[in-house]
């Protein structure tokens, strides 16, 4: 991972060291690192595989037990870029921020490189020796009473088989699952409503009204790529679907809502009750409605009038189970046939059971019967709620083994440590949210000889084998050639459950839920770092939060009104007390927040090696309680009087009344002019004329495109100090403007990248002709001609040009170098760079077309377009009738940003339709 190192701090010693490493690496990079085992036989079957050409392989990435189908681009044995698998409904060809950034994780130099027993580095075999049944049996008893497992929730058939194998050997061992951001509340809500474990599976393409209660379903969660795709498909049909959002903290989904209000959890529970009353009037007198504030009341009224119009209701997995029960009952009530929402069996093993109860696990540890504890979950010592005191409990266990990718907080309390393989290094399988099985195949031999959880379990079961052998033995379907080729295991369809809601029971559960009141601490998933597992990922740390645009930190988000009440401004340090716990965080005034709520992202303040030697942000897990994991009451918030700088990429959130010119595109007809008319774009200068459209109605600001661009184009990170100085290098950024009104906040997202102006202001001011126009309409940067006057940036009205203030590219680890896309020039110190419309992909497609003898280049996808979950970005040639670009450019909704400047951009935006305003 490229460390955010200010180049000034590189000493001569470092430099010479780096020089040596680079020299050594020159040989290493040339080597291919294919797995020792056969994937798809490179030599035998892939006859067209030429050195240097890109190949794509299907695999799956699993987060919290749910898989997403992916395609990985590899070149000469090096995986370089992640895309969604277009064949699989879990992605529809799109990928989220964490999938995109996971490639950097693979090459992270901070990953653990050896197994350890105590402080000693040992080999995997030596570590396994301690776990062989003949060693274990005397300690844990013949039936394994003293053996306990804490695993990441899993849906993998292979894992199921391995856990069974372990249970065969040790029938009384205990298995628990832990994920800080799991889906247990959803499953338990369904248990309350239906009497059995289930999860909702939505088909938004059939919905006319979508209601989100705190759920960021378009940009986060295991099924968000599928939901975003369906929502986008539905957007293409008139009348547009209505999106109602009530949420305590603004999310990307909230930013595209037509009707959004801020509501606390307590208010969301009341809203659920009202909606339930509206959809299923109770026989008895309805529960007397306690006072909702006026904006919420009218939001409810507006929504109640629309509920019968094919509504789908989605609630945040971080909300209490009773609310999910109400939502389940509502969805069944409004859609008895399950055409829009069907309830399916959870793919996660034992979902809703005691095995997923962390308190149960803690009690077992406290009871003192465990002799050997095996942990293969995502850093539970860090991520578990503070009141469990997992670290303290674990230290009482004589033998504690941790399988992890990093030497992290959990590794620090383990006696035995095994370094885990990355998902791109391991064989496996997993189920996606809809229950279908996806194969996972390695793209590269483990860089540090890591091993997977399945391999560890097989060893404990007394039959150590490699992941591939295990798959062949236990899940041959997952390794069938056809499955590996497509990324799908055939024959598995999601099962629809026949369930009936117990509405009175749901009402009781709702009434029995006592939400936190007063000043509430709301804990939200970190947009990039998730539960902290990606905290060492520099791309995700530098990815601006979609709403606050904060990087390299978490902050105490408060509404502007609450900030005024506390007497703080953004950047003032707040102290939060809960019992004997105290944390200090900078306040961040955020429009659109519910009042009396302090929201803090999880996943920060991690401690580890390398980049995490100094924690980034603040760990707020100590303030969490296992009873109410995402909400803490009775927190005392005070002002410390101290300040810190927040690395925010867009601190100025107002559009300053410039909406007409920027995002609404109400351009007045051009005034009379003596200038000759503009040259018509298509003819005259080149065959293809590349152009892009971006639909602002579909852009949620999720920022997957930003990371995709970074991965594709070797875009460096600049670190916290760099962002503070406004030197971030992202070629594509997402501008978000907030219109703060007394009734709430309205958000607009606008992806901003080089507009490839036909009349480019940057070009004529460059004294050395380093930025010029290509025949096919690209504004090109000639890096090796650039002397770095930066005049082009001054004259760019969109401020999309990026400057290499320091040498950002050569002083990175040898592993990070392996991620570099060889198709894209690495930029030197002192030169400008900017979006190229992925010119390497265009030229590649042109050369392919030429070789194939086609007379048209055909479709080219830019990296941002390819990964966009809502297909907000479209790219194509204006001269290619099949691309649809000409008609998109002529669409009445399309406009140019700052069109009045007559820069004639080749990027046009589609203005946003709000449901309130006539289309």
């Amino acid at each position: 991972m490229p460390h955010p190192m200010p180049p000034g701090e590189v000493t001569r010693r470092d430099f010479v060291g780096m020089l040596g490493a680079s020299a050594a690496l020159a040989g290493l990079v040339g080597c291919t690192r294919e797995p020792r085992e056969e994937i798809l036989p490179y030599v035998d079957t892939a006859l067209d595989a030429l050195p240097g050409t890109a190949r794509q392989y299907a695999t799956a990435m699993t987060i919290d037990g749910y898989a997403t189908g992916l395609l990985v681009t590899t070149r000469d044995g090096r995986p370089l870029k992640i895309e969604g698998n277009p064949l699989h409904p879990s992605s529809h060809g799109a990928a989220g921020v964490m999938h995109q950034a996971s490639i950097l994780q693979l090459y992270d130099p901070d990953r653990a490189r050896t197994c350890r027993i105590g402080p000693r580095d040992v080999r995997w075999e030596a570590l396994l020796a301690a776990l062989r049944p003949d060693q274990l049996l005397p300690r844990v008893g013949a039936r394994g009473v003293g053996l306990s497992f804490l695993l990441e929730p899993t849906s993998s058939p292979l894992h199921v088989a391995m856990i069974d194998a372990v249970r065969t050997r040790y029938p009384e061992c205990s298995v628990h699952y832990f994920a800080a951001l799991g889906h247990e509340q959803v499953v338990r809500g369904c248990q309350l409503a239906f009497g059995r474990a289930a999860i909702p599976y939505h088909d938004l393409s059939r919905a006319d009204v979508i209601v989100s209660l705190g759920a960021d379903f378009l940009a986060a969660g295991p099924d968000h790529l599928h939901l975003a795709h369906d929502w986008s498909v539905r957007q293409a049909r008139d009348p547009k679907p209505l999106l109602f959002v009530a949420e305590p903290v603004p999310t990307p989904t909230g930013t595209v809502a037509g009707d959004r209000v801020a509501a606390t959890t307590a208010q969301l529970l009341q809203i659920a009750l009202r909606l339930l009353d509206a959809a299923a009037p109770a026989a008895a007198a309805p529960v007397p409605a306690t006072g909702l504030p006026q904006p919420l009341q009218s939001w409810c009224d507006r929504l109640a009038g629309q509920l019968q119009r094919n509504a789908v209701i989605i609630a945040s997995p971080q909300l209490p189970a009773s609310l999910h029960a109400a939502v389940a009952a509502l969805n069944r009530q409004l859609d008895p046939d399950g055409t829009r929402t069907r309830y399916i069996a959870p793919p996660i093993l034992d979902a809703g059971g005691r095995a997923h109860d962390l308190t149960d696990f803690a009690n077992q540890l406290a009871a003192g019967q465990v002799d050997t504890l095996v942990v293969a979950a995502a850093n539970p010592v860090y991520a578990a709620p503070g009141d469990v005191r997992l670290g303290t409990l674990m230290r009482q266990i004589p033998t504690r083994l941790y399988l992890g990718e990093y030497v992290d907080e959990t590794a620090a309390v383990a006696t035995h440590f095994a370094n885990a393989s990355h998902y791109l290094e391991a064989w496996g399988d997993s189920r996606s949210y809809d229950g279908s099985v996806l194969p996972a195949q390695p793209m590269i031999a483990p860089l540090h000889d890591g091993h997977s959880a399945a391999e560890l379990l097989s060893a404990i079961a007394g039959d150590p084998a490699s992941g591939r052998e295990l798959l062949q033995r236990h899940c041959p379907d997952s390794i069938a050639r056809d499955a590996l080729r497509t990324g799908l295991v055939r024959g598995v369809v999601p099962q629809r459950l026949a369930v009936t809601p117990n509405i009175p029971g749901v009402r009781e559960a709702l009434a029995a839920t006592v939400p936190a009141t007063g000043t509430v601490l709301q804990l939200i998933p970190g947009h990039g770092v998730h539960d902290g597992r990606f905290a060492g990922n520099a791309w995700l740390q530098e990815l601006p939060d979609p709403v606050t645009k904060l990087t390299w930190d978490n902050a105490a988000m408060v509404s502007p009104a609450f900030a005024a009440e506390l007497g703080v401004a953004s950047g003032d340090l707040l102290s939060l007390h809960l019992g004997d716990q105290l944390v200090e965080l900078p306040a961040l005034a955020t429009p659109g927040m519910a009042d009396q709520v302090v929201a803090i992202a999880l996943g920060y303040g991690r401690r580890g090696e390398g980049i995490l030697t100094r924690p980034i942000g603040v760990n707020v897990n100590p303030l969490r309680a296992s009873a109410s994991e995402f909400e803490t009451a009775h927190v005392i918030v005070t002002r410390t009087g101290r300040r810190m700088d927040l690395a925010i990429t867009q601190a100025h959130w107002s559009i300053e009344g410039r909406g007409d010119d920027l995002v609404d595109g109400h351009i007045p007809s051009p005034p009379a002019t003596l200038y000759p008319p503009r040259r018509p774009a298509p003819d005259g200068f080149g065959r293809d004329q590349w152009a892009m459209t971006i639909d602002l109605a579909r852009c949620t600001g999720c920022s997957a495109c930003v990371v995709a661009c970074q991965a594709e184009n070797n875009v460096p990170v600049v670190g916290r100090t760099g962002v503070l100085q406004s030197r971030e290098m992202h070629w594509l950024r997402i501008d978000r403007y907030i219109d703060e009104t007394p009734g709430g906040a309205r958000f607009t997202n606008q992806p901003m990248l080089c507009q490839h102006c036909e009349h480019a202001p940057c070009e004529y001011v460059c004294p050395v002709n380093a930025t010029v126009h290509s025949d096919d309409g690209l504004n090109e940067m000639v890096y090796n001609r650039c002397v770095g006057t930066r005049f082009c940036s001054n004259n760019c009205p969109y401020k999309v040009r990026r400057f290499n203030w320091f040498d950002y590219t050569s002083k990175v680890s040898e592993f990070t170098l392996m991620q570099r896309n060889p198709q894209v020039t690495v930029r030197d110190r002192g030169v400008m760079e900017k979006c190229t419309f992925c010119v390497q992909r265009i030229r590649g497609a042109q050369s392919d077309a030429q070789i194939a003898g086609r007379d048209r280049t055909g479709a080219v996808q830019t990296a941002c377009q390819q990964t966009c979950p809502t297909q907000a970005i479209q790219f194509g040639s204006l001269t290619d009738p099949d691309s649809g670009m000409t008609s998109r450019f002529a669409d009445p909704r399309s406009f140019s940003a700052l069109g009045a400047l007559n820069t004639a951009p080749r990027v046009r935006y589609f203005r946003r339709h709000d449901p309130e305003s006539p289309a």
Binding site: Q650, H652, R658, D661, S726, R736, P797
Partner: protein, 469 residues
């Protein structure tokens, strides 16, 4: 003799007599002395060392070292060591460039412009002013080079016959800048050196040691003072003056076009060329005052640089200052009158109430109000007031360029791109260091080069004696 319009303005009905006195050839050189005494007076500093000179030279030397360190850091680590960012891609460095170029202009204005206009009073201050020009342009020329991301490729901006066949882009004002500044430096150097020749010859003739005689002898390029030499001298001097005079206008016009050819609100303005030229002369005259007043005092040159010189300089300050104030007014008015929301924001709201509002109000207050003090003859003859006003105006003209460059860039079209700017120690060191370097050269010049135009003062004296006789 030609009177300035201001002087004519003064000549109201009751003041005819005073006007006649003003229009009469001014007495600039006291006629008590003979040529030899005058020459000795002026050349004495070249042979005698004054202990007060060393600490000043030392301080300037230390600042020059700081300049070298800052340059070293900039070149080895990168422009990142400056405070620049995106959107403020030009900041402190370009402000320094425009400021130094502007200061240089007053020197050329005084020596060439006034020579062509037969303003003989220029004779006692033109040498210092020319040296000031030269040293200021040397400093100015360094900033655009240091400012490059890859300064080692600076020559790509020049139209040289490259094997690649790639020429500079002649549409870019930076290409014009290279031509303008290098021409200006060349002409200023020639003009200054040619004017020096007779005085170097005098120094050669009077030098007390052989070594000095040899050095000044070589530098004098064989000047003998023959009639033929003087005839050619005068012709070339006039020609160079004729070349230098339009350069005063053209160089700063082109510098202003570095901004005006863009479409950035706050830069995109047709008023920039005259506005910049006037501002340049204004700041340059302020710098002349800052230099001349202490020199006059230190070397006891009250007889050569007379109160009348200072009076005339302060009138120029008043004139150019008023024109600058008028430019400010026009700029703001057009900003409002354009009806363009971006222009209005950049020129009115952004400057007056933006993050750099205090710089804007400081520079407006100083540049508009301070020159107006010099309507009063008492103020025009108060050397302390003139010196302080000169210092303030120099600082404030730096702020003016800072406001134009940084305030416009930091808040342009897209509010999403708005970002503040803060300089680093390298930025500050480059400015302080360049001032140190300027004074280092200036002190060296005062110590080793005839700093007053000896031959011209002698001619002026002769002229006045003839007039008196």
């Amino acid at each position: 003799m030609i009177a300035t319009p201001l002087e004519l303005l003064h000549a109201r009905a009751g003041e005819r007599a005073r006007a006649r006195e003003l229009l009469a050839p001014p007495r600039l050189v006291p006629d008590r002395r003979d040529d030899a005494a005058l020459t000795r007076d002026i050349l004495t500093p070249l042979w005698t060392s004054d202990w007060r000179w060393w600490p000043l030279f030392g301080i300037a030397g230390l600042l020059t070292l700081l300049f070298l360190v800052a340059i070293g850091v900039t070149v080895t680590r990168g422009i990142g060591s400056w405070g620049n960012n995106i959107p403020v891609a030009w900041a402190w460095g370009i402000t320094d460039f425009v400021w130094w170029i502007g200061i240089g202009h007053a020197g050329t204005f005084i020596s060439a412009f006034l020579l062509l206009l037969h303003q003989h009073w220029r004779a006692s201050i033109n040498r210092v002013a020319e040296a000031m020009t030269l040293f200021a342009v040397m400093n100015a020329g360094m900033f655009p080079l240091l400012h490059l991301g890859r300064p080692w490729f600076f020559y790509w901006l020049a139209p040289y016959p490259a094997t690649t066949g790639v020429w500079p882009n002649f549409l870019s004002s930076l290409t014009w800048d290279v031509a303008a500044v290098s021409t200006y430096f060349t002409v200023s150097l020639l003009f200054w050196y040619q004017g020096l020749l007779p005085d170097l010859a005098s120094a050669r003739d009077l030098a007390p040691t052989t070594l000095r005689r040899r050095i000044y002898g070589v530098l004098a390029l064989g000047w003998r003072g023959s009639g033929e030499q003087w005839r050619r001298y005068r012709m070339v001097y006039l020609m160079l003056a004729g070349l230098a005079t339009p350069l005063v206008i053209s160089v700063h016009t082109i510098v202003s076009l570095d901004f005006a050819i863009t479409q950035l609100p706050g830069w995109h303005s047709t008023i920039f060329p005259p506005y910049f030229v006037i501002g340049a002369i204004f700041s340059g005259i302020a710098m002349v005052l800052v230099l001349v007043i202490p020199i006059r005092r230190a070397f006891g040159l009250h007889g050569v640089i007379t109160p009348r010189h200072l009076d005339l300089l302060s009138r120029l300050l008043l004139l150019t200052g008023s024109l600058v104030a008028y430019s400010y007014l026009t700029e703001s008015f057009i900003g409002w009158y354009s009806g363009d929301r971006f222009e209005r924001y950049a020129l009115l709201t952004g400057r007056a109430a933006g993050p750099f509002a205090w710089v804007f109000w400081f520079m407006t207050a100083i540049n508009v109000l301070v020159p107006q003090l010099f309507w009063s003859p008492r103020m025009r003859h108060n050397t302390v007031a003139l010196f302080v006003a000169g210092l303030l105006i120099c600082a404030s003209m730096w702020c003016e360029r800072f406001v134009i460059i940084v305030a416009s860039l930091s808040r342009s079209f897209l509010p999403s791109s708005w970002h503040a700017y803060a300089p680093t120690w390298v930025d500050v060191s480059l400015l302080a260091g360049s001032i140190g370097f300027f004074f280092l050269l200036m002190f060296a010049f005062l110590r080793w080069v005839p700093s007053l135009a000896l031959s011209e003062i002698r001619q002026l004296r002769a002229l006045e004696q003839r007039g008196a006789a």
